[in-house]
């Protein structure tokens, strides 16, 4: 084993931490952008106006069927040759956003259209407006549906930031390549870099699974809902005590 680990890792620690930070930045910015754009594309695809649907469908199909690496080259090198020079961070984030938005839009679309139309009708019958129905009735249910697929995409996006090595984005993989070129110890370096990716992705996906479970169990996550449920529990205390039926209550207390 002592033969395997010969790279002076402590010398590289500041650079590695920098690179780690950049990987996280690409992931956060890329994912946030992809969620927003994905939601917009999903809503366009569900629109009653056919040109909107067509534009969204073309977008989704194009970016789902082009490799991410090609998109990275197009935004960084391609646009530059057309006179649009983007810095590497912008180009990297943009690539991740347009690529993952295509996948997320499909997940969001099916989640939104999967909410039963009786739900919208119940909202209408109660005098809620379109925005209120979407925000309070459709979206929370769609989120529940979309969460597993979306979480998979988040972890996938984190791993895909490694493709940005091709434009020297100074994230983890680029740093790995740099260290390799200085030490010529490819096996050791890429084992360590892989371990770092694993140490990021595994806890993240476990955390997301926990979130999925909580949301599925209907645990109130927003402070407003928590306050409301707490106040309701106080008002209903006498009624709930009358019956040994506090299953949902206990479950919630445990989580």
């Amino acid at each position: 084993m002592s033969g395997l680990f010969q790279v002076p890792w402590s010398d590289y620690r500041p650079d590695l931490l920098d690179a780690l930070g950049r990987t996280v930045s690409y992931t956060v910015a890329g994912f946030a952008g992809a969620v927003v754009l994905g939601l917009v594309v999903a809503l366009l695809r569900l629109s009653k106006v056919w040109p909107a649907r067509a534009v969204a469908a073309v977008y989704t199909e194009v970016f789902k069927n082009v490799p991410l690496l090609a998109i990275i080259f197009l935004t960084y090198f391609g646009l530059a040759s057309a006179g649009i020079r983007l810095d590497v961070f912008t180009a990297g984030c943009l690539s991740l956003i347009v690529f993952y938005a295509a996948y997320l839009s499909e997940i969001f679309r099916s989640a939104i259209s999967g909410v039963h139309e009786g739900q919208t009708e119940a909202g209408e019958a109660l005098g809620l407006g379109r925005a209120g129905i979407f925000a309070h009735i459709v979206l929370p249910q769609a989120v529940r549906q979309a969460l597993p697929g979306t979480n998979t995409m988040l972890v996938d996006l984190l791993k895909s930031t490694s493709l940005l090595v091709t434009v020297s984005a100074a994230e983890l993989m680029s740093e790995g390549r740099l260290i390799t070129s200085e030490t010529f110890r490819a096996l050791e370096v890429y084992l360590v870099i892989s371990a770092v990716y694993f140490a990021l992705c595994y806890p993240l996906s476990q955390l997301l699974l926990l979130l999925e479970r909580k949301v599925r169990a209907g645990v109130p996550l927003s402070p407003r809902r928590r306050r409301r449920v707490r106040a309701a529990r106080a008002l209903l205390a006498a009624d709930l005590d009358n019956v040994n039926d506090r299953v949902s209550d206990r479950k919630e207390a445990v989580v």
Partner: protein
């Protein structure tokens, strides 16, 4: 139905009494006529039951009252205000209309991501009712329909009867002037049906104005002031329950009741 000698004054008085007034209503879906020149009135404090075969237009008729369906022709008037006329919605404030009209669905349509009590609070908050009052009202209503002990359960943890009673509480929370019931017991087992009918009986005793689409003919006979038999999109026969259900004048009504009798 107005007496030929009625003065303008008595007509106006009769109008003020009607919470729901439908006149000459027609509605087609994809060229198929579902409602054909239907007129109907529900006076304050009265209960009107609409009976008839499935697919006969009963539900569509009911959904035209709160404009979940927009009629092609005719007039819909709710609480003295014309809301739809000649194929055009003239209601200035659709959310306000819908808060005036409570609706209970066949499949409950509770919000599955919210607890029973939150289901009842949501629309109240959107209607501008303060949080504390909305909660207070929700709890009071849950007690009234006998599911307060399940107030923190989510819909999938409730039985069908409990869900429908929560749905009734939700519809009552905005203090509507009329409640629409769209086959409220059709998805329920006999035990749950009994629970829901008990709640509806109590509402009737409290003087709630109701328009009810139902297959529960004994219940319709018991609580209704007026029974309307709809078939093929037209009102075939209407009148007091004992007349329509026990001494129907029309052949089609007799056939329907005979089929119902042999089925149950």
């Amino acid at each position: 139905m107005t007496e030929p000698v009625a003065t303008a004054k008595t007509v106006a008085a009769a109008r003020a009494e009607a919470v729901v007034r439908i006149e000459g209503l027609s509605k087609s879906f994809d060229g198929r006529l579902v409602l054909d020149d239907v007129s109907l009135e529900v006076d304050r404090g009265r209960i009107v039951s609409v009976i008839g075969q499935s697919g006969g237009g009963k539900t569509t008729l009911m959904r035209c009252v709160n404009l979940l369906e927009r009629p092609d022709r005719g007039t819909v008037e709710v609480a003295g205000e014309v809301v739809h006329s000649g194929g055009r919605t003239v209601c200035r404030d659709l959310p306000a209309l819908r808060r005036t009209v409570g609706m209970v669905f066949q499949k409950f349509n509770l919000f599955p991501h919210l607890t029973a009590v939150e289901n009842i609070v949501l629309a109240q908050r959107k209607a501008g009712i303060a949080e504390a009052e909305a909660l207070e009202r929700a709890v009071t209503l849950l007690r009234r329909v006998g599911v307060a002990h399940r107030g923190l359960a989510r819909p999938d943890q409730l039985s069908g009867g409990e869900q429908q009673r929560v749905a009734i509480a939700r519809a009552l929370a905005l203090r509507p002037e009329v409640l629409l019931f769209d086959e409220p017991t059709s998805s329920l087992d006999p035990e749950s049906t009994r629970e829901v009918l008990t709640v509806m009986r109590e509402l009737a005793a409290d003087g709630m104005t109701m328009l009810l689409v139902t297959h529960e003919l004994p219940f319709a006979r018991e609580v209704s002031d007026h029974v309307v038999f709809v078939d093929g999109g037209r009102i075939v026969e209407a009148g007091r329950p004992q007349d329509v259900l026990d001494r129907p004048a029309e052949r089609r009504t007799r056939e329907f009741l005979a089929a119902y009798g042999s089925a149950s």
